[in-house]
Amino acid sequence: MGELAIDNHVRYIVSIEKRKDDFESVVMEHLRMNGAYWGLTALDLMGKLDSVDVDEVVSWVLSCQHESGGFGGNIGHDPHLLYTLSAVQVLALFDKLDVIDVDKVTNYIVSLQNEDGSFSGDIWGEIDTRFSYIAICCISILHHLDQINVDKAVKYILSCKNMDGGFGCTPGGESHAGQTLAITGSLDLVDKDLLGWWLCERQVNSGGLNGRPEKLPDVCYSWWVLSSLIMIDRVHWISKEKLIRFILDCQDTENGGISDRPDDAVDVFHTYFGVAGLSLLEYPGVKPIDPAYALPVDVVNKIFFSK
């Protein structure tokens, strides 16, 4: 299996930036903001954030901001919470949160909270607990959590709680490992043992984690499942060694990048989730990442513990 091929992964991530014309890049154009966040955070975790030009990134991020205050996935695209969080996270990585009008971004997020406490992803009203997480995470980084109704937001998320202790996208929706993050800050309302058992049973024989019972494992769940298990202090219920081996097996050691399962094609999404997963598993040489804010711990501590 070998070790984490940091140099190759860094080269792979940097090269994506340059390849704007191949088919994959064109297909992914609408979520380039997410891509920037995945790639840059992975670089920072591997200690190589200095391989990119800060000013270039920051000015591109700003050019994706819409007059409503939200950010689009690319220049000229409509704003959405999904990209607004990524934009804020990228700026936080570079300690450049001061370049945005914080009140404007805050107002955009506030405007998307519904009467029942839920959040819409944008003005067109799609509701999902993922958006609740994104809204809470983003507005916290901006130090304006008091601007939304947190009690109602939590109440809505709890209404999506299921028999297995997990949370669905909407009330009645099947539990998905990704939704658990939405509950940060109200973890005492979660049945940690029930949820923890459901989450730890996501580890299959290969060592990888799946997102739902009887599904195939996938490197991206090394993030969703693992960060949730860590936040409820139940990560010892899985085998860390086996999961590390699974992630390392998904590397393209020759050309860099990490894929969903061994021998599949790599992409920046799985490269990020693989590296972030290894970080949560305390893999040597990778910076620690915060399980809730999905940013390096040093970045998060700086946001919350400096005056």
Partner: protein, 699 residues
């Protein structure tokens, strides 16, 4: 890329792909131009349709269609046929986009948006869903859409129950169908729909249904989560009840000269509460509740003037907690010597106490105890309180039996009332669980199935919890311990899950009766000779990875948990009398793991030496400890700057959070990676009350 094999492209593929990329790029840029210029002509819409059919994840492209529809509808002057033709075209585009990618959030949402406009027939929707659900029975987008459509059609939960049964009969390995069944069944049970009340008959049928699945392929997980949920539906009581209290019902608390306190016999440590002169009264509930105050809990006594203030023992600063406490200010009470004062607490008469899931407190309950002041008290010798605490073996003395006066150690008497209350339902519960136990013993007689063993352990635990007497509550404990022991070997990947469960069962066994507790209770130093002596509960070296059963341990003042494998002390905040705590030689990985200590006013002596604090880059208690990170409290900058201004807050915030609110006199932190000289200096500043650090006396 999800599920695509990693292989280098052949040159001809590269050429084809770059031609495709060029085409798509052109489409995308033409679309964006139309979008920005608000062009909604037929050509523009067709171009957009091509784009979403090619790449249904482009949410801006769907937004454009919505804008276009709204613009066209506003021009339509309410001609119903025209409106329908516009919306039908949208449904067609969505359908063809879904054929390209039926996991596209944008496409499914667009369909909902169109339907919510009205005008379209929904009859077609279930047919379309059937087609998609046949392709992938677990597609959660399709399931979500199904719930949306059935609600719109007002299709009954009963009919949907039938649908999930058809799918399960067809293939029981369909977790999505089991999940949906649990949602439907919860609704039906909750509103006591016809045929779903009482729940007994319904649950019996469900046990039959899931048994078929489990016994056909015991290694398939789909049915097991449903089965676990059924057990919970069988045994759980919705309404919160009082589980235990301190002082316990019928006990007498002896106070010495208005200062030091004794529980009846198991005397309170000399220096414990004397400083604050306050006696805690603890209420321990079966689940987290809110609304405990002087209007919902009445305390009657001649010694009280004014209302008591109740405080939730919540580690996240929430107003909901499983344990509540109030402090009797005995220092200010003018109590006469050798006289008994009665206190009577009652709750449950009014409706204000509510669980976090919205259920009201079950039925009225009472706790009565006595306060008494004794005269034969001698002041401890000068400086005795300042003597260093030792945890050495020879400082403890075993005892053969509890003295009569030590009745406080016994567990509570509230249980009998509780069980009387639930008698009728619990008969059925016990039978149902008993039946399941038999089934699983049967299953395990010829297979070594992991989920079968785990379920049997859970069933036996449930059975014990339903028993009415303390002794009966432990009948199956040995078997449960054996099962968890087997599971650790059988399923090493999850071995620490089983170990945690093993620890909880073991603690349950140890703390259930006075007799079972006795071997673990020791006199500290020469305490046996004096009435002022105190008892230490020694649970060291039991390879515990988890603590629990705090409801039976509210009386404990000195606790030794050293030489275990603990990494958290969740629930310890209930032990409001605790003054000396030994957590050395465990697996605590961070200071945030000690969060519950912040709620222990009486804690003076703490040993956390030889743990793993400072050795981990990832802190698993970070979000379970109240802090600015989870927005459960502000960082006390002013206090930090006064006490430890010269230290770096981003590095020392955790230790400050924990120790900044404690009044320790003794602390041991050696044997942790964090405990270097700089850190010790920090501690001395943050803990001005500290007299001993790492065994050395501070000058």
């Amino acid at each position: 890329m999800h599920g695509r094999p990693r292989k280098p492209l052949k040159p001809e593929d590269t050429t084809a792909l770059s031609a495709k990329a060029e085409k798509l790029r052109l489409l995308q840029s033409q679309f964006l131009t139309n979008h920005h210029n608000h062009i909604y002509t037929k050509e523009a819409l067709d171009l957009n349709a091509k784009l979403v059919e090619n790449n249904p994840e482009w949410h801006t492209a769907w937004n454009y269609r919505k804008l276009a529809v709204e613009t066209l509808l506003s021009r339509s002057e309410s001609d119903p046929d025209y409106i329908r033709s516009i919306l039908d075209e949208e449904l067609r585009v969505v359908e063809s986009a879904l054929r390209k990618n039926f996991k596209s959030y944008g496409a499914w949402h667009h369909r909902k948006w169109v339907l919510s406009k009205g005008h379209s027939s929904i009859d077609n929707e279930l047919r379309l869903l059937d087609a998609f659900q046949k392709l992938d029975r677990r597609n959660f987008h399709a399931w979500n859409y199904r719930r949306f459509v059935t609600a719109l059609m007002k299709r009954s939960d009963e009919d949907e129950m039938k649908y999930t049964k058809e799918l399960i009969d067809d293939n029981f390995s369909n977790y999505s169908a089991w999940h949906n069944r649990s949602i439907l069944l919860s609704n039906l049970l909750k509103r006591k729909a016809e045929g779903y009340f009482p729940k007994e008959n319904v649950l019996e049928e469900e046990y039959e249904l899931v048994q078929n699945a489990l016994f056909t392929d015991p290694d398939d997980q789909s049915g097991w989560f449903y089965h676990l949920w059924l057990i919970d539906q069988t045994v759980k009581t919705d309404a919160p009840i009082l589980v235990s209290s301190w002082p316990s019902h019928g006990s007498t608390i002896t106070l010495q000269g208005n200062k030091c306190l004794y529980g009846s016999g198991s005397s309170l440590l000399n220096c414990t509460l004397s400083d604050i002169g306050k006696l805690p009264v603890i209420l321990y509930f079966s689940q987290a509740v809110e609304g405990i105050d002087s209007s919902t809990v009445t305390v009657k006594s001649e010694v009280l003037n004014g209302d008591l203030v109740w405080k939730p023992l919540s580690t996240s600063n929430s107003n909901t907690a499983q344990v509540w406490v109030t402090y009797l200010n005995v220092g200010n009470m003018e109590l006469q010597l050798s006289k008994n004062y009665s206190l009577a607490i009652s709750l449950g008469h009014s409706k204000g106490v509510v669980s976090s899931s919205g259920y009201h407190f079950g039925h009225p309950m009472h706790v009565a105890f006595k306060l008494c002041i004794q005269t034969d008290y001698t002041e401890p010798a000068e400086g005795q309180c300042e003597k260093k605490t030792s945890w050495n073996e020879n400082d403890f003395k075993k005892f053969d039996h509890f003295r009569e006066s030590e009745s406080i150690v016994s567990t509570d008497q509230l249980t009998s009332e509780k069980d009387h209350h639930n008698q009728t339902t619990s008969n059925w519960c016990v039978e149902a669980i008993d039946k399941e136990v038999d089934k699983f013993r049967d299953l395990l007689s010829d297979s070594d199935c992991k989920l079968g063993k785990l379920t049997l352990a859970r069933l036996l635990t449930a059975l014990d919890s339903l028993s009415s007497t303390r002794v009966e509550k432990m009948v199956h404990a040995d078997e449960v311990l054996q099962l968890y022991g087997d599971l650790m070997k059988l399923d090493p990947t999850h071995s620490l899950y089983y170990k945690d469960k093993h620890s909880l069962t073991l603690l349950h066994q140890i703390t259930s009766t006075r007799e079972s507790l006795q071997p673990y209770c020791h006199y500290y130093k020469d305490a046996a000779k004096t009435i002022a002596g105190h008892v230490c509960l020694r649970l060291q070296n039991l390879s515990l990875s988890r603590i629990g059963c705090m409801e039976n341990l509210l009386w404990v003042q000195m606790l030794d948990l050293s030489h275990n494998e603990l990494q958290s002390i969740e629930g310890l905040e209930a032990m409001q009398l605790l003054s000396c705590l030994n957590l050395s030689h465990n697996k605590f990985g961070s200071f945030t793991a000690l969060g519950p200590l912040r709620l222990l006013r009486s804690l003076k002596v703490l040993n956390i030496s030889y743990n793993e604090i400072g050795s981990h880059s990832i802190d698993t208690r970070r979000y379970l400890c109240s802090s600015p990170l989870s927005h459960t409290e502000e960082f006390a900058w002013d206090r930090f700057e006064i006490l430890a201004g010269s230290f770096n807050a981003t590095k020392f915030w955790e230790a400050f959070l924990i120790f900044g609110s404690l009044n320790l006199t003794e602390l041991d932190v050696k044997g942790n990676a964090v405990a270097d000289e700089k850190f010790r200096l920090f501690l001395v500043k943050v803990l001005p009350t500290l007299k001993w650090l790492d065994g050395g006396e501070l000058s």
